[in-house]
């Protein structure tokens, strides 16, 4: 699997996700600087976490207008899978590749902790190694992860099976205090209709190594390697 990780000024989980991709696939991904206009041929494009352009103005707003994003959008439209984690999810909504927007957390504070997710859609190249309604533990670390979309869009996402993960507690019960940011319908990650683009706020790359205290994020990288190699 040849993956390309897009690096923006202010990205800070680019190395972290590259480590997870390399561990899963055996090959280091290419790191592509935001100012490039050409994207090398890639089986997977990853938009990493961090604070592209400081998250100034709005999280992901300025990165979404970086030169490389034209190529990313074109590749996505042509069917190249795209994974956006945290700031990457924000970038995906800012470019319109995914619907909705990520607003300030309802509690207004940055939140960094492990959350539980219920896998709502295991039928995708990202989630094939999970099973329906599996409960996994993955960390979040964000200030603007409060997913919002209008009622019609949410209904469409739900109806088309485009909700990938929902926040839940350790026992799998969705919502309430388990939702760390106020996201509508407790949504933690969404797909495009073809399920070839995934944006999610939690960081699977942060729990994909036993030394870090868990490996529930690892199957996402394993799924990608399996589907894309």
């Amino acid at each position: 699997m040849k993956a390309s990780v897009i690096v923006f000024p202010g990205s800070n989980c680019d190395r972290d996700v590259a480590v997870s991709l390399a561990a899963a696939s055996g090959t280091s991904p290419r790191m592509v600087w935001h100012a490039e206009t050409d994207l090398p041929k890639s089986d997977l494009i990853v938009l990493p976490g961090g604070f592209s352009f400081g998250d100034y103005l709005r999280a992901g707003a300025m990165g979404a207008r970086s030169p490389i994003m034209r190529a990313v959008i074109d590749a996505a439209h042509a069917g190249t899978p795209v994974l956006g984690i945290c700031n990457g999810f924000q970038l995906l909504t800012e470019t319109g590749l995914l619907p909705g927007a990520l607003m300030r957390n309802a509690a207004l504070k940055f939140v960094c902790r492990d959350v539980f997710l219920r896998v709502t859609q295991p039928d995708s190249l990202f989630t094939a190694r999970y099973v329906q309604d599996q409960v996994i533990r993955v960390p979040v670390a964000h200030h603007d992860g409060n997913y919002f979309a209008d009622a019609e869009t949410v209904a469409r996402l739900e109806g088309d099976g485009c909700v990938a993960f929902r926040y839940c507690d350790g026992a799998g019960s969705v919502g309430g205090a388990a939702n760390p940011n106020g996201s509508i319908n407790d949504i933690a990650g969404v797909f495009d209709p073809a399920r070839r683009i995934l944006g999610l706020m939690p960081h699977p790359e942060r729990l994909a190594d036993p030394a870090l205290g868990g490996t529930d994020g690892q199957p996402m990288f394993a799924s990608l390697v399996e589907c894309l190699s």
Binding site: A101, L108, F148
Partner: protein, 79 residues
């Protein structure tokens, strides 16, 4: 010319910051406060002397960058 831009959340979009401000104001003892909405206010200088052109330029800036039109409206004043 100077442009002033107001960026506000669309109706129907929940506003966590506005809501938090409202709660805090009531804790601070300010009664009868409602509908608090927080938006952005941007000022900038433009090398342009034609009002119409300036307006069109700023409009393009707003739709391309400054506002997220999925959730936000914007209003422009040119001075």
């Amino acid at each position: 010319m100077k442009a002033r831009i107001h960026i506000t959340l669309k109706n129907g979009v929940l506003d966590p910051q506005g809501k938090a401000i409202e709660t805090t104001l009531s804790h601070l003892g300010f009664a009868g406060v409602g509908d608090v909405r927080q938006g952005k206010y941007i000022e900038l200088e433009l090398d342009e002397t034609d009002r119409e052109k300036a307006h069109a330029t700023v409009d393009a800036m707003c739709s391309q960058l400054l506002a997220n039109t999925v959730i936000e409206n914007y209003a422009i004043e040119i001075e």
